[in-house]
C-alpha cells in the first residue's frame, strides 16, 4: 500500500522527534534560562552591589582600570551596567596575543575602577553558551545545535501536517484520561504557541546562516568571507594601526560627544581599537531596548584622539533588518519584564512540547509489552535516556547553582568546578536511571530534582547575605527572582510527583480508562 503524506509525516515526526528530542530538551531548557542570563549572572555574583546607573562615571572607572592593568592593550570592550545587571565587564586583548582566547575578561567596580572582588562563576553565561555550543569545542557544538534546530523546525512542520484537527480541537485539553491527555497536552502546547516555536527554531537557523550555508558568500567573494562582512558592515572596517603613538582622550569626554551626537540613545557597549595610537577609535553601541532588530545599525564611531565623528549609525538595508530582526526576536534583548516572562514561559512550553512527545513515544510502545512483563532492549534504552535527559537536566541545573553558593569563595578553578558539578549531577542521574525503572524511577528522580531546587533559596540565604528576604527588602528582584523561580520549580515538580503517585493509588479505575483510550492508542501507535 502506498503511504499517504500524513502517514509519512507522522513517521518522520515520531522518529526525528525521538532521536533529537533528548538533545532538544536540553537546548530548549537552557535556552529558556538564558532569557534571564543577566539576572542569573547577577545572582551568581551577589557581592556586586546594585547602584544607581551612571554611564559616564562607569566609563571613567573602566579607563582607570585599563591604565592600571593593561595600559599597552590595543583592543578593549566595556559592557556597561544596566537595570538588569549591575556588573561592568571589561574585556581586553592581552598585548602580544591574537585570535580566540587572547582576551582577558574582568569584572570592574563601576565606582572605583578597581577589580570587582567577587566569586568566580560563569553564572547565566554558562546556560547561554551551553544552549548553542553544548560544551563541545568550536565549531562542533554550533553545528550539532544547528542540526537540532533544523530537526525541530521540520518536526514542527510535520507535526502540523500529522495533526488532523488543528481548528476543531484548538481549545481541547482533556486531563485525567491517560494517553489521551498526553496527546491533548502535546497538541495544545504545540498549536497554541506555534508562532513562538516556529520563530525560535527558524531564527536559530538564520543566526547561524553564514556557517550553515556559506556557499553563496564563498562563491561571490572567492572564499574571502571577511570581504563580505566589510561590504555588509562598512563601518566595522577599522583603519589599521598607524605607526605614530598618540594619547587617547578621556572616555568621559568621548562619551559626552557621543551623547551630543546621538541624543536620547543609551549605550550598552563601548569598544576601543588601536588604543594609544593616532588611528585609535571608540565605538559607542546603542543599547537594544529601543529596537527589535539586534544591532542592525552599527554604533557611533569616534576618533579616540580627536573626538571627531568617523561614522554614524546608517540606515540599514532591508535584508539586514530582516536578518537582524530574526536574531533580535530570538534573543529578546528588547523585551521588558512582562514580555521577558512570556518568552520564558514560551520556552518552558517548547520544553514541555518535547518532553511530552518523548514520554508518549515510550508510553504507546510500552503498553504493547505491558502484558508480557518484559521490556525489549530498545524500549529500556529509551526509558533510560528519557529519564536521564529530562529529569537528569533538572538535577544538573540546580546543582550548578548550588555549587556557586557552596564552594569556597577564593577556590582555584572555581567556575570550572561549577560546570563539572553540572555534568557530575547529570551523570549521577544517568546511573540512577540505569538501576531503577518505570514510575518509581521517575518519582525518585523528580523528588531529588525538587529537593535540589527547593534547597536553593535556603542555601543562598545561609551562605550569602543576599538571601530571599534581604533581596526582596532591598528591591533586588533579579536575585529574588532566581530564588523564587527555583522554589516554584520545586513546587511544580512536587505536584507532578503527587500526580504520579495518585495515579498508582487509583489503579483499579485505570482499566476502564485504558479501554476507553484503546482506539486512540492503536491509531497513534501505528505511526
Amino acid at each position: 500500500m502506498k503511504e499517504g503524506l500524513r502517514q509519512s509525516m507522522a513517521w518522520l515526526h515520531t522518529w526525528a522527534g525521538l532521536v533529537f528530542g533528548w538533545l532538544l530538551f536540553a537546548i530548549w531548557l537552557t535556552g529558556t534560562l538564558a532569557y534571564f542570563q543577566d539576572e542569573i549572572n547577577h545572582w551568581a555574583h551577589p557581592e556586586v552591589p546594585v547602584r544607581a546607573l551612571d554611564a559616564r562615571a562607569s566609563l571613567a572607572s573602566a579607563q582607570t582600570f585599563m591604565q592600571a592593568q593593561a595600559a599597552d592593550s590595543q583592543r578593549w570592550f566595556i559592557s556597561l551596567p544596566d537595570h538588569r545587571n549591575p556588573e561592568m565587564g571589561v574585556m581586553y586583548q592581552v598585548p602580544g596575543k591574537t585570535g580566540r582566547g587572547s582576551f582577558s575578561r574582568n569584572l570592574v567596580d563601576p565606582q572605583s575602577g578597581a577589580k570587582q572582588e567577587t566569586r568566580e562563576s560563569r553564572g547565566g553565561e554558562f546556560f547561554y553558551r551551553f544552549h548553542f555550543e553544548l560544551q563541545m569545542g568550536y565549531p562542533w557544538g554550533r553545528w550539532l545545535a544547528s542540526a537540532a534546530a533544523f530537526v525541530m523546525f521540520f518536526t514542527l512542520v510535520s507535526g502540523i501536517i500529522t495533526h488532523k484537527k488543528i481548528f476543531k480541537e484548538f481549545f481541547t485539553f482533556r486531563p485525567g484520561k491517560a494517553q489521551r491527555s498526553w496527546l491533548d497536552g502535546h497538541n495544545a502546547i504545540g498549536v497554541l504557541i506555534l508562532p513562538f516555536h516556529l520563530l525560535i527554531s527558524y531564527s536559530s537557523l538564520v543566526i547561524f546562516m553564514s556557517m550553515i550555508m556559506p556557499a553563496s558568500i564563498l562563491t561571490s567573494y572567492h572564499g574571502k568571507v571577511t570581504d563580505f562582512y566589510a561590504d555588509v558592515f562598512p563601518s566595522a572596517a577599522v583603519a589599521s594601526a598607524a605607526a605614530t603613538p598618540a594619547p587617547m582622550l578621556p572616555l568621559t569626554q568621548l562619551y559626552d560627544t557621543a551623547v551630543q551626537k546621538l541624543p536620547g540613545a543609551g549605550f550598552s557597549r563601548v569598544g576601543v581599537e588601536h588604543a594609544g595610537n593616532s588611528n585609535a577609535t571608540v565605538e559607542f553601541t546603542p543599547d537594544d531596548s529601543g529596537s527589535i532588530a539586534y544591532r542592525a545599525a552599527d554604533g557611533l564611531v569616534l576618533s579616540a584622539v580627536t573626538g571627531e565623528v568617523l561614522s554614524r549609525p546608517q540606515d540599514t538595508p532591508v535584508p539586514i533588518i530582516i536578518g537582524a530582526g530574526f536574531y533580535g526576536l530570538h534573543m529578546a534583548h528588547f523585551a521588558g519584564p512582562v514580555l521577558r516572562w512570556l518568552y520564558f514561559l514560551g520556552g518552558i512550553g517548547g520544553t514541555v512540547l518535547i518532553g511530552t512527545g518523548l514520554v508518549m513515544w515510550l508510553n504507546k510502545r510500552q503498553l504493547k509489552h505491558a502484558k508480557a512483563g518484559v521490556m525489549p532492549f530498545e524500549l529500556r534504552l529509551v526509558e533510560v535516556l528519557n529519564l536521564a535527559s529530562m529529569a537528569g537536566l533538572l538535577w544538573a541545573i540546580p546543582s550548578f547553582l548550588l555549587t556557586n553558593r557552596l564552594l569556597p569563595m577564593a577556590m582555584e578553578g572555581r567556575s570550572d568546578w561549577e560546570v563539572r558539578m553540572f555534568f557530575i549531577a547529570w551523570g549521577l542521574s544517568l546511573l540512577h536511571a540505569l538501576c531503577r525503572r518505570g514510575k518509581r524511577a521517575w518519582v525518585e528522580q523528580l523528588l531529588v530534582a525538587a529537593g535540589l531546587m527547593g534547597a536553593l533559596p535556603f542555601v543562598s540565604a545561609l551562605t550569602t547575605d543576599h538571601g530571599l528576604w534581604q533581596s526582596i527588602g532591598s528591591g533586588d528582584w533579579a536575585i529574588a527572582g532566581v530564588d523564587l523561580t527555583a522554589f516554584a520549580g520545586a513546587l511544580f515538580l512536587g505536584w507532578t510527583v503527587r500526580k504520579l503517585l495518585k495515579k498508582k493509588a487509583a489503579a483499579p479505575s485505570r482499566k476502564a480508562a485504558t479501554r476507553e483510550s484503546v482506539p486512540v492508542l492503536e491509531s497513534e501507535a501505528s505511526r
Binding site: K168, F171, F173, L192, S291, I292, F334, L339, L345, G346
Partner: protein, 108 residues
C-alpha cells in the same frame, strides 16, 4: 499591552463558545446557528481590535510582537482553565470585557 491581552482573551473565549461542543460544556445548552455565527464574528472582531490597539499603543514593530505574545499567552491560559475551572475561565472573560475599555482610556 494590557488592553490587547484582555481583548484577545475575550476574543478567544467567544470563538470557543462559537463551537457547539464547547458551548454545550460551558453553558449547558445548544447554541442556535445565528448565535454561533454571532459569537464567531465577535471573536474575530475582538482579535482584530486587540491587534489595532496593540499597534496603536506601541507602533508596528513592538505592537505586533506584544500582540502575538498576548495572543499566545491568553489562548494558553484559556485552554488550561477550561477543563479545571470553566466558570473562572468565563468569569475572567467577563471581567476582561469590562476592564478593557477602562485600560484603553487609562482609567486603570
Amino acid at each position: 499591552m494590557m488592553p490587547a491581552v484582555l481583548l484577545s482573551y475575550v476574543g478567544f473565549t467567544a470563538l470557543c463558545l462559537a463551537m457547539e461542543k464547547h458551548h454545550g460544556e460551558l453553558l449547558r445548552r445548544k447554541p442556535s446557528p445565528l448565535h454561533k455565527r454571532g459569537l464567531a464574528v465577535a471573536g474575530w472582531l475582538l482579535l482584530a481590535l486587540s491587534l489595532a490597539l496593540a499597534v496603536q499603543q506601541a507602533g508596528w514593530a513592538f505592537g505586533l510582537v506584544n500582540w502575538t505574545a498576548g495572543l499566545m499567552g491568553s489562548a494558553v491560559l484559556l485552554v488550561w482553565l477550561l477543563p479545571y475551572q470553566p466558570r473562572l475561565a468565563l468569569g475572567i472573560a467577563g471581567a476582561s470585557l469590562l476592564i478593557a475599555p477602562l485600560t484603553v482610556f487609562g482609567v486603570v
